[in-house]
Amino acid sequence: MELTGAEIAIRCLQEEGVEYVFGYPGGAVLFIYDALFNQDKIKHILVRHEQGAVHAADGYARSTEKVGVALVTSGPGATNAVTGIATAYMDSIPLVIISGQVPTGFIGEDAFQEVDTVGITRPCVKHNFLVKDVNELASTIKKAFHLAKSGRPGPVLVDIPKDISNQKAEFVYPSSVDIRSYHPAQHGDIGQLKQAAQLLLGARRPMIYTGGGVVLSGASRQLVDLAHLLGFPLTSTLMGLGGYPASDKQFLGMLGMHGTYEANLAMQNCDVLLAIGARFDDRVIGNVEHFGQVPRKIIHIDIDPSSIAKRVKVDVPIVGDVAHVLGDLLAVLHSSKQQPDQAALAEWWQQIDEWRGLNCLRYKNSDEVIKPQYVIEMLHKITGGDAFVTSDVGQHQMWAAQYYGFNQPRRWINSGGLGTMGFGLPAAMGVQLAHPGAAVACVTGEGSIQMNIQELSTCKQFRLPIKIVALNNRYLGMVRQWQEFFHGNRYSESYMDALPDFVKLAEAYGHIGMRIEKPSDVEPALKEAFARKDDLVFLDFKTDQTENVFPMVPGGKGLSEVILAEDL
């Protein structure tokens, strides 16, 4: 059957089982929007800014195991999408972004709304395509989905010139795809697995360190089995939270710059480290030289070979999909019928429990002023620890990560790698659409929320009952904290003056706004908000202005060079 390029694009999305397309129309995508209009399988979510479209698709993808899809026009549509694309790229989130382009005959002529989208996005996509022949459109979109979700996932962009979307071609959706240069590994090398097993069994001070790869690979079950089989302590990066239940006693909390004392010290002092789907980034291990001062054997499982031995030397590299590799590792361990040295392990746990005893996340609550940590603890209580929590970037993000306690994967949705303020609200839209009945909270600050505040309008149009938990301290809190610690209390441009009245602002968009100023009102307000199942509620918590995030490993310092809360 002959279809136009626009119809082909939409048919491809249907074939891929796409439920939602997040987008914004414009000149170069008019034919595609026309094809969308003429069908009812795919629902289009009209955002208010293209960055919101990509973040929403991203939130949808992170909270499901599906590929998120965004549709934007050429020029400014594409450039607005770039922050969203880079966000997804840094966190390895599978997205397909379809962008319109000026007609092929106009490319390179500085046409109206022309930009070299493939060039601009090249460094922040897993791959991208410019479609120059309508006959190749279907196979290109097939490839885009295949690349986005296989191997180390990531965003893939397909740029479609306007004339291509109006030309006709026979539509055949390929049932399979083979890219000769692309064969991501699944299973790890068995020899390496045996070596890893021997190292683990011989460990005296072992540590398991997990990252976003566990969540992306769906390997939580295997991870729990492995940790329980060995009885080893476990920590997780910001991206890996929920991949292992936070309530499990072997879990030492998050590690890194704002990780727990026990997680960071165990990481620093272990003799065998099993790294799983994590990449030793600067916010996680701090100073590489300091980290390297303690001799330890490192086993590193990752699907991307370039993540291995990038920042630290690795003794046993294992390239493969985390779920597969952990499954195989469990089999090797079971068949060895050996156990780690229990006496040594008990001694190690004793040391860890000593560190734990410091209770590094303790904070002094107040009757006068709302402590941000308390809000997160109450959020956990009211939602039974079972909400989807998206966040923006800054102090509130760290507090949410430290105090919510995620027990399931794909519940904690945040921009870890790129650290994109403005991510939280649009991401929550994607999450809420993917999980219509679920409690979705967007933990944010008064700075971040204003970076994509316009999406409140989208939430109204599509009736998305998100609960916005704004920790409003009238400061760009994390910037202020660094200025306090490292820049002599010179709060250069970090004070938020002339803030809007968020209650009225929420009401102006047709939502409910609540201002909470007393600690005793925190719990009742959250209760009331989450009881309103059909409404978006903007909770504006006036929090302690100068609260800091602790513990803190300052940038460039080692994991044991930690600053704890002053009163500890």
């Binding site: 460094p123 897993k126 000769r180 370039s306 031995a309």
Partner: protein, 163 residues
């Protein structure tokens, strides 16, 4: 250390900029980069001369392999290999220098491929250091123009980079 990395990639628009973009984005050195189609018209072969510590070279190889359009990568320095580069050099060749220049070209097994009343264009092939030596051996004031292709590398014997 200096490394010659050869790779096969899809002969598609944009593939070259993916490779060069990777080098600039990650701060890797490029001493030279050459690319041309192979006998299989769907593929190009690129030779990159770069330098860095062993860790950096390992990352370069991994990052190149990660590019979707890169079909195969070979670090020539991991085994025996041959390296050749072509240089064209236009030199002033007048009076006594004319004879001297001809002799130097012969010594370096260069060929004079263009002759005018006052100049020669000499074609010279060899390793990069041989070409450097030639330029040092002749009187620098006589050099009017040089153009070099950058190195091409190929493995010796059974070391073959082919799909």
């Amino acid at each position: 250390m200096r490394h010659i990395i050869s790779l096969l990639m899809e002969n598609e628009a944009g593939a070259l900029s993916r490779v060069s973009g990777l080098f600039s984005a990650r701060g890797y050195n490029i001493e030279s980069l050459t690319v041309a189609p192979t006998e299989d018209p769907t593929m190009s072969r690129m030779t990159i001369v770069t330098s860095g510590s062993d860790d950096v070279i390992e990352q370069i190889n991994k990052q190149l392999n990660k590019l979707v359009e890169v079909v195969a990568v070979m670090d020539m320095n991991e085994g025996d290999h041959l390296e050749r580069e072509l240089m064209l050099v236009k030199v002033r060749a007048e009076g006594s220098a004319r004879e001297e220049m001809k002799r130097m070209a012969d010594i370096f097994r260069g060929r004079i491929i263009d002759v005018t009343d006052d100049a020669y264009t000499i074609e010279l092939t060899g390793t990069g250091s041989k070409l450097d030596s030639f330029l040092q051996a002749i009187d620098g004031d006589l050099i009017m123009e040089t153009v070099r292709t950058g190195a091409s590398g190929i493995g010796r014997g059974d070391r073959i980079l082919k799909l």
